[in-house]
Amino acid sequence: MGEHVEADNAEAIITRIEHKSRKIESLLKQYKPVEALKTALEGSPPKTRDERCKSANWIVVHRALMAIKDVDLMFSSLDPEYYDILMKYLYRGLSTGDRPTCDQCLRIHEKLTQRAGLGCILRALSDTVNTV
């Protein structure tokens, strides 16, 4: 029973992420990368242990993250409530080992740490329940 509910739930989450993905593409076409990133980060991490959902959400966040050109400009319009979740995705990006992704994540990581402090890193690393 529990597994069944989890599967249904996972389908619903995947549908929501697909919807999010379409919205992000349209925001990127309108040259609104920060709005796209906010949309990607909203509702993260998906409230499930299902790795498929987490990967799907990461793909969406990754798409928005790589579209950020000016990091300072991004932070001028990104509210502090997004900092903790953004840090978690930066570490997921760094764990891929992919060169362009890591370059971009490190660039944002430096600026984010200046703004949010070491506490933000601690919260990203220590949370083993709400992983992204």
Binding site: T113, L118, G119, I121, L122, N130
Partner: protein, 373 residues
């Protein structure tokens, strides 16, 4: 300056406790011994060394009412020390633990003490007159991991615990014959619970929790998480009201209520942090207590600073990064209140840490904090 005295007692101090009149301090210099220092003509002199434990002592508490010292150690034992003449005589307390004891505290009346342990249990110990023996009763249930901190409610019955499973829990420790009659209902918690019954479980942190303390009235409590968060909880009971405050800096290890509206937190940032509640009861970070710590304005980024932390503390204080060179130069893991008399407000306290220093602080001349005292 908020720090009024700094003493280098050892290379590292695991914990310390004051005698009831605060003329003596007991501390563990990261060994299996307790050293007792006394202030003699402006100098701290070591007057006793308590040797009985086999491993590092991690908890010392000196009873306010009975001049007894209780110590707990990684060797899984606890001793109650009585001063007889000029010597301290230990009595072994059989805790029946299969893991290290981690923390200890006397109850406000001094007739019980609580020991948190790595065996996922809390021992409540009390003295049995007829057998001339300290008895340990275990709270076995509920904890899914090591108990890192215990704190007694002022009513002598409720205790709060924090654990490495991230939870903060409140239990009743009512023991027939020790706690005379049913205690009066005060604060939010219901007190007619049996021994070991859980009153509430607070599920706010997703990683290790440390350093729980009750406010002086017992109406609220505070504890910290290893995720750089501090939690304040009001109305302890079926529907508690919780607030989480996010820290910009490194996590805390221990907290202390100065008043209902003022909390000091100490930890890995080597500098006590001040938290205060405004008129509506909303808690927020005020500032660091040691003013030397300026906002990081140097050219070094926080990122390289983080690397400095990882590569050992030897860099700290010696590098040209003066922003972190405060009174303490390593993690502070213990904060103890110092009260001059019952009538006066508590304004001073002491901290000790891995740098082996014990620092005495006073808030009296901190004008911006006086309104919260």
């Amino acid at each position: 300056m908020a720090a009024i005295a700094v003493h280098q007692f050892a290379d590292c101090i695991t914990c310390h406790a004051w005698s009831p009149d605060q003329s003596m301090v007991a501390l563990c210099p990261n060994t299996n011994e307790v050293h007792i220092y006394k202030l003699v003509e402006e100098n701290w002199e070591r007057i006793h060394v308590l040797q009985k434990h086999d491993q590092i002592i991690v908890g010392i508490d000196w009873s306010k009412s009975s001049n007894r010292i209780v110590t707990v150690s990684h060797d899984r034992n606890s001793y109650v020390w009585n001063e007889e003449g000029s010597a301290w005589v230990p009595t072994l307390v059989i805790l029946r633990l299969n893991r290290a004891a981690l923390c200890v505290q006397w109850s406000p009346k001094g007739n019980k003490f609580a020991v948190g342990s790595g065996a996922k249990t809390v021992c409540i110990c009390y003295y049995e007159q007829e057998n001339n023996w300290w008895v340990s009763k275990l709270i076995r249930k509920r904890h899914d991991s090591s108990v890192t901190s215990v704190a007694w409610h002022p009513n002598n019955v409720l205790i709060a615990t924090t654990s490495t499973d991230g939870k903060c829990r409140v239990f009743s420790t009512f023991i027939k014959g020790v706690d005379a009659g049913k205690p009066k209902k005060s604060g939010g918690g219901s007190l007619d619970a049996k021994f070991g019954e859980q009153i509430v479980q607070l599920d706010l942190s997703f990683c290790w929790a440390f350093g729980v303390k009750w406010s002086p009235s017992g109406n609220s409590l505070a504890y910290v998480g290893h995720n750089s968060m501090i939690y304040f909880v009001d109305q302890i009971g079926p529907s508690p009201l919780a607030q989480s405050v996010v820290l910009r800096d490194l996590p805390l290890r221990d907290v202390m209520f100065v008043s209902e509206k003022l909390v000091i937190g100490v930890g890995f940032d080597c500098n006590p942090m001040v938290f205060a509640a405004d008129g509506t009861g909303l808690w927020s970070f005020v500032r660091f207590l040691d003013e030397k710590k300026a906002a990081s304005s140097s050219g070094r980024s926080q990122f390289t600073e983080a690397f400095g932390k990882f590569y050992g503390s030897s860099k700290q204080g010696t590098s040209n990064d003066k922003s972190r060179a405060g009174v303490h130069d390593n993690c502070i893991n213990c904060i103890v209140p110092m009260k001059e008399s019952e009538s006066t407000k508590m304004t001073s306290f002491s901290t000790s840490g891995l740098d082996g220093k014990m620092v005495i602080w006073d808030l009296k001349n901190q004008e911006d904090l006086l309104e919260y005292l």
